[in-house]
Amino acid sequence: MAEEVKLFGRWASPFSRRIEVALKRKGVQFEYIEEDLSNKSPALLKYNPVHKKIPVLVHNGKPVAESLVILEYIDETWKHNPILPTDPYEKALARFWARFIDEKFWAIWPAVKRAILSREKEREEAIEETRQHLKTLESGLKERKFVGGESLGFVELAANVIVWLFAAQEVLGLEILTEEKFPTLHEWSQRFVDDAVFKECAPPRERLIAYYKVLYGASTASK
């Protein structure tokens, strides 16, 4: 039976890129549809009426939304080369860490945006807030071993946001994520950059940085 798999995504979204990596890892052929979030397609609105967001996976006409939900769906539908462990306890740990990473990202990203867009005291506060969340993320991931290549797991797929945090640092024009203070985040970021499977589905770093610089109207003059 012919399978029809579509992915509605955004080139710059780590959540959308996770799904691309997962599908490639499983060898699933899919059609990719780039969404313009300022002009959402009728298809996107039809397939994700609740959140109206990407990524959305549409499998034989049936939509699945929310990146971690999509990853579990992919794992259960195409069972070879599993993303999640089989042992219930290991699975629980993987789910816990993936949620933790996403929660931290959604705390850090707005703080970074505020830091880029604000001035003086507000900027300093936003930078400090970013630092605190990064510290929590660092200490949380410290005990975990990065599992890459064809075995990129659930936690690693969720942790792709680390690459985006490093890009954000460039836009901010500040050296917050130093190797000295954040050795785990540094190591993970490097592992992603070196990883063949991840690289295939990653946006070019320079393009991402240039895009955010334009988006947030960042000037290199800090003030």
């Binding site: 699945v64 939900v69 259960e76 219930p88 306890y89 629980a92």
Partner: protein, 220 residues
Amino acid sequence: MSKEEVVLLDFWASPFCGRVRIALAEKGVEYQNREEDVLGSKSELLLNSNPIHKKVPVLLHNGKPVCESTVIVNYIDEAWPSRPLLPTCPYERARARFWGDFIDKKIFEGGTKIWSSKGEALEVGKKDFIEILKQLEGTLGEKDFFCGDNFGFVDILLIPLTTWFYAYEKFGGFKVEDECPKFSVWVKRCMQRESVAKALPEPEKVYEAVLMLRKMNGIE
């Protein structure tokens, strides 16, 4: 066969702990319940078992901690596979997880906006909250439970949160039954299950706890 040791680090008013109590009851799992003084001083066991969030619920299965209520409910479903809480087909499971995620993100936070606000912010909070319930009503449709005929994952994640609705109604000046009658029918249906009725606190008691929370946060 070795004896299983299951311990729940618990707090009576927490809807997230309620989820775990219901899931364990549905599976017929015997466990030891340890009440934590979450507003006072947390136990060493809690701080060691959940160093990242330092929160309840924590399920300790033969000494190994599982944290985050949704993760715990999934774990319970998989560690004790009889009487499954999730549907079998991947698409229906994804639908259940999607709505679980929606409930996790929207309900408690939405309700908090009601009890912790005043004036204009309260009115906006109330309006948004009712909208959220209407969306859930929409997905429930004519079904008895969120995934069909059987009480399951989504119902378990949602029903304990409804014990806080009485408090929201008092502060917000509205009734869920008037705004979302179908939702209320579903609540009553769930509360008829023994596993649910035994696991959840009286909404009036929760209201008193929320009153105390308001005082502690300097809201009046």
